[in-house]
Structure formats: C-alpha cells, structure tokens
C-alpha cells in the first residue's frame, strides 16, 4: 500500500510538469501556425495552384534584378584579372619574359571577361546524344574540365560516361564509369551530366534558393548564395551535381578567359557546381565545349523553339528518349539511336 501511495504521489508531480510542457508546446504550435498563416499565405496559395502546361514551359525565375549580376560580374572580373596577373608574373619570372608560356599567360589574363548575359526567354535549349555514334572516348569530359575551369584531379568532372549493356539500357545498376577499353561489342556508352530538367528536384530542395531554372531552360547555381548544404546533390536522380571540397586554383595557362558569373567562373570552396551547358558560350551564340570536342559528332545542341534547330531535326527525324523517365523530372537532355553505328573494336573485351 505504502509503495503504491508513493508511486501515486510521484505520478502527480510528473503530471504537473508534463501539463506545463504540453501547454508551452501547444502555444508554440499555435504561434507557428499563425506565423505560417500570416507570412506565407501567398507562397502557400502559389503552391496549391494547379500546374498547367504554361507554368512548366515558363517557369517563374528566382533571378533578381539584372543590374545586381552585372555589377557582381564586373567586380569579379577585376578581382580575377589581378589574381591572374600576379600568377602570370610568377610564371614569367620563372620561365623568362619572352617564353611562350609567359606570353600566353599574359594574353589570357588580359582577355578575362566575366559576363552576366541574361537568358533569352524566346529560347529553350536542349541537347541530344546519339548512342549509336558515341564511342565512350571521354573527350567531352576532358573538354568540359578545361572549358569550365574545373578543379583537376579532384573528381569534379561534370560529365560521367557509363558503360551499359545495349539490351538493358534501363538497368543502371551494372553501369560503370571506370572502363579502360572501348567501344566494346554489345555495349553502349551513356554520357551523363546535368539533364536541365523541366521539373528539377534539385532546385525545389534548395533552402536558400541558390539554384534555379532560367527562362532559356538552363539550371544554374549562384555560387555566392550557395551555403553548401548538399541537399541538391542528394535530390538529383542523375548524380549530376558535385560538391567542391577544395579552394579554387588559378593557373593562367589552364584558365579559360571566357567566363559567366553563373557558369565557369572559378568556384569558391564548399559550394555545389554542375554542368551549365556552357552558359558562357551558348547564351552568346556558341556551342557547348562537349559538342565541339566530340570526335564522332554524337552530341547535338540547339533551341527547341526554333523549327530549324539541330535538336528539332533530331527529334523529328530519329525520335528521342530520356533517362529515368519514371523520376518525373522531364529532362531536356535526350538520347537517340541514329542507326549509323560506329564500328565496335574487335576483341574489345567480353
């Protein structure tokens, strides 16, 4: 009996404390709902709106006023020029002022341009890749590294090429990117980089809105806004995003002077980066580096809205498919089989 009483008294004490705690929690919950109702009503409404085709084609952009970006680009340009010149001087004093390296370094430094070219809303870029032609040679990968001032030897390359069975293309499990003999019989080589999806899951999860889809279809990252939380790295179904673990290196000889503030500008440490379809080239009329470098012409890049563009020709003439359609991301990077197969190497493995 005594024991039982003691327990009851104890329970009574606990009850009071618990009641207090529940009261506080309830109050906090109420406050938070009020908070939500007051501050996020508009946002909430937007979220609940039915998504139509127009919304998908003309995604609202998070991009702030353009002046902001141009100002920043100009500042960055100055900064980089100074840094580059200092590095170039070092090269010159080591190798002599008349050496070819010195001259090239100085020339490149003086030509550094950081652009903030805005997207053209009348364009919608897309890329297609011919799996019959691709031989898995990795030249696009190397070109990408050199064009985009990517860190060398750090596993940061944006394009990965996966060797897959021709028959089981939907089976990504057996895909390998460390093959050393190619092209083998019965295999296809599937280069994978950012797919620039219409419904990018990576931009949805970013807590600071540092990444978004621009009006011309390119998904970009603002490196100055990125806090390095890596949510987007996890969210991407294609493993296209890379986390920058190392501080940037500025070697004038390896530097690509054509830069875009949302593209290939040397990235600070601890930010996420990924393929931008060479925004520094394509927005001003050029072609991405991988398209230029591919020895078999497997890559096709163009504007979906232009009926005479290469990409439209491919879609109309050959038909295309995408990777992981079940993810619902609606990629704008297509694959196709043109039928003109590059001969596979005899005895190229199993």
């Amino acid at each position: 009996m005594v024991e039982g009483n003691g327990k009851k008294i104890q329970e009574g004490k606990v009850d009071e404390k618990r009641r207090m705690a529940i009261k506080i929690a309830g109050l906090a919950a109420l406050l938070s709902t009020i908070d939500f109702a007051v501050f996020d009503k508009e946002e909430f409404k937007k979220m609940l709106k039915k998504v139509g085709l127009d919304d998908i084609l003309n995604v609202a952009e998070a991009r702030e006023g353009l002046g902001h970006y141009e100002e920043r680009a100009k500042k960055k340009e100055e900064e980089l020029k100074n840094l580059c010149m200092a590095a170039a001087d070092k090269i010159c004093s080591e190798k002599g002022f008349a050496s070819a390296d010195c001259l090239l370094a100085k020339k490149k430094c003086s030509k550094i341009t950081v652009k903030a070219t805005p997207p053209d809303p009348n364009k919608r870029y897309a890329m297609a890749l011919d799996l019959d032609k691709c031989i898995g040679c990795r030249r696009c990968e190397y070109a990408c590294v050199m064009e985009n001032n990517t860190l060398r030897n750090a596993g940061m390359d944006w394009i990965h090429i996966y060797e897959m069975d021709r028959e089981g293309l939907s089976d990504l499990e057996g895909a390998r990117d460390d093959y050393t003999v190619a092209p083998k019989k019965g295999k296809v080589y599937v280069p994978v980089a950012c797919m620039h999806c219409e419904n990018p899951p990576c931009t949805m999860v970013c807590p600071v809105k540092a990444t978004w889809k621009e009006k011309d279809g390119i998904v970009v990252v603002d490196y100055d806004k990125c806090i390095g939380c890596k949510y987007c790295v996890v969210a991407c179904p294609y493993g296209a995003r890379r986390f920058n673990l190392f501080p940037p290196k500025l070697d004038p000889l390896d530097l690509n002077p054509n830069m875009h503030i949302l593209g290939n500008i040397p990235r600070p440490v601890h930010v996420v980066e990924k393929c931008t379809w060479c925004v520094q080239r394509t927005r001003d009329g050029g072609v991405p580096a991988c398209v230029e470098a591919c020895p078999v012409g497997a890559r096709v890049f163009g504007d979906l809205k232009d009926p005479n563009s290469p990409i439209r020709r491919v879609i109309e003439e050959y038909g295309v498919f995408v990777l992981k359609p079940e993810a619902g991301t609606n990629p704008r990077f297509f694959y196709f089989f043109s039928g003109a197969k590059t001969p596979r190497k005899e005895g190229g493995g199993k």
């Binding site: 990795r138 190397y142 050199m146 030897n153 990117d177 460390d178 078999v296 012409g297 890559r299 563009s309």
Partner: protein
C-alpha cells in the same frame, strides 16, 4: 632584307629535303604504299583519262571493292567530263594537294548528291560537330588537362559568337573508305569515388538486417523483464 634572306634559306632547305626524299623514297618501304608521291599527277593525267570501269587502283592505294563505298567506280566522282558533272551541280572535284577548308567545304556538295538526308542533318547541325567564330578571334591550341589537346577561343568580345560546322565531310570520312572508325579512348580522370562493390552492398544489407533483428529481440527482452519483475 633579313626576312627575305630567311625565306630564301627556307626555300633552299625545302628543295634539298624534297629532292632528298625523292631520291631516297624509291628504296624505302613507304614508297610501296604511296607511289604517287614520286611523280606529279600531271605526268600521267595530261593524256590519261579516268577509266570508267575501274574501282581498284594499286597505284593510288584505292580499293573500292570493299568498304562502305563498295560498288562505286573512280569515275563516279573523279571524271569531270561525264554526265555526273551536271548531276553534281557543276562541281569539279579537287584532287590531291593541300586544300584549305573552304575548298573542302565546296566538295561537300558532291557527297550530298547521294547522302541527301545526312547532308540535311549536316546543314541543320545534327550531323558532325559545330564550332564557333568570334570577331577578331583566335583559336589557340594548348596541351590541356593531362596533356590532352584543347583549343581555347581567345576573343576580344565574347558576346558575339557565330556558329559554323567544324569540319567538311572528307575531314572525318575518308571518301575511299568512309566508315568512321573508333579512335583511342582517354583514361578515367583521377580523384573519382569508385562505384561501390556489389558484394559490399549485399553484406551491408545483411548486416543491417541482423542488427535490426538483434535490436528488436533485445528490446523485447528488456520490456518483458521490466513487466515481469
């Protein structure tokens, strides 16, 4: 004055080298494969017409009895005075010698006579790769990442780029054997995380399962002990 002296020296050097190569080559093995380097084309072709019925010429190192252009005759492309001339839209085909890209581009039309679909692809940019020009631009070839050749476009103005086809048909496809054969591949870049081992996934799965079961059993045991005791 100094420049002209240099040029003269270069010319003399080239003449010596060419004469040397001409005198040396007949004995060397390479001349067996490439006999036309010995004589200028005009020595024979001033009077010799292209034979309509020939599809193999040891002398030129051309064999159309096999390969993707099997079945064609030399005269299908190389006889400017035939009816083909009209079919080709009066394109006279340049033979041998060093041609610049615009000359090679002009020859594209000859290929287009048979490969209309691919030619349309090519014109629209869906076949072969494209590159771009910029005003006062310069393309500098460098040894880039891991010694791989790379072309940097050095421009005054990076905002006015103009796309164009990167190459003419015959720069990628040898017209006498037009299949594009795979070239060597580059090694995988360094620093990548290797893909996980299949067995490690299996073992990991089993480990998780066993740990889970052990935890469930342990909690059950503790619960029972508390309520019984």
């Amino acid at each position: 004055m100094r420049n002209s002296g240099k040029i003269l020296a270069a010319i003399v050097l080239i003449t010596i080298i060419t004469s040397l190569s001409i005198t040396v080559q007949p004995v060397s093995a390479s001349s067996q494969q490439n006999p036309q380097s010995l004589y200028p084309c005009s020595t024979c072709h001033q009077r010799l017409k292209v034979n309509a019925d020939i599809n193999y010429s040891w002398y030129h190192g051309v064999d159309l009895r096999s390969g993707a252009h099997k079945g064609l005759m030399c005269s299908n492309c190389h006889n400017p005075e035939s009816a083909m001339m009209e079919l080709r839209g009066n394109i006279s085909l340049a033979i041998l010698g060093v041609h610049n890209r615009s000359q090679l581009m002009a020859d594209n039309l000859l290929c287009a006579q048979c490969h209309a679909k691919i030619y349309k692809d090519y014109l629209l940019g869906a076949h072969g790769n494209r590159t771009f020009d910029c005003p006062n631009g310069q393309a500098i070839e460098v040894k880039g990442y891991k010694g791989v050749k790379w072309v940097y476009h050095i421009c005054d103005d990076y905002t006015k780029l103009k796309q164009k086809p990167a190459r003419a048909c015959v720069e990628c496809h040898n017209p006498h054997d037009p299949t594009y054969y795979a070239i060597s591949i580059l090694p995988p870049p360094e620093g990548r995380v290797p893909p996980p081992d299949e067995s490690s996934i299996t073992y990991g799965g089993i480990a998780v399962l066993v740990t889970g079961l052990v935890l469930i059993a342990a909690s059950h045991f503790v619960y029972k002990k508390e309520h019984m005791g």
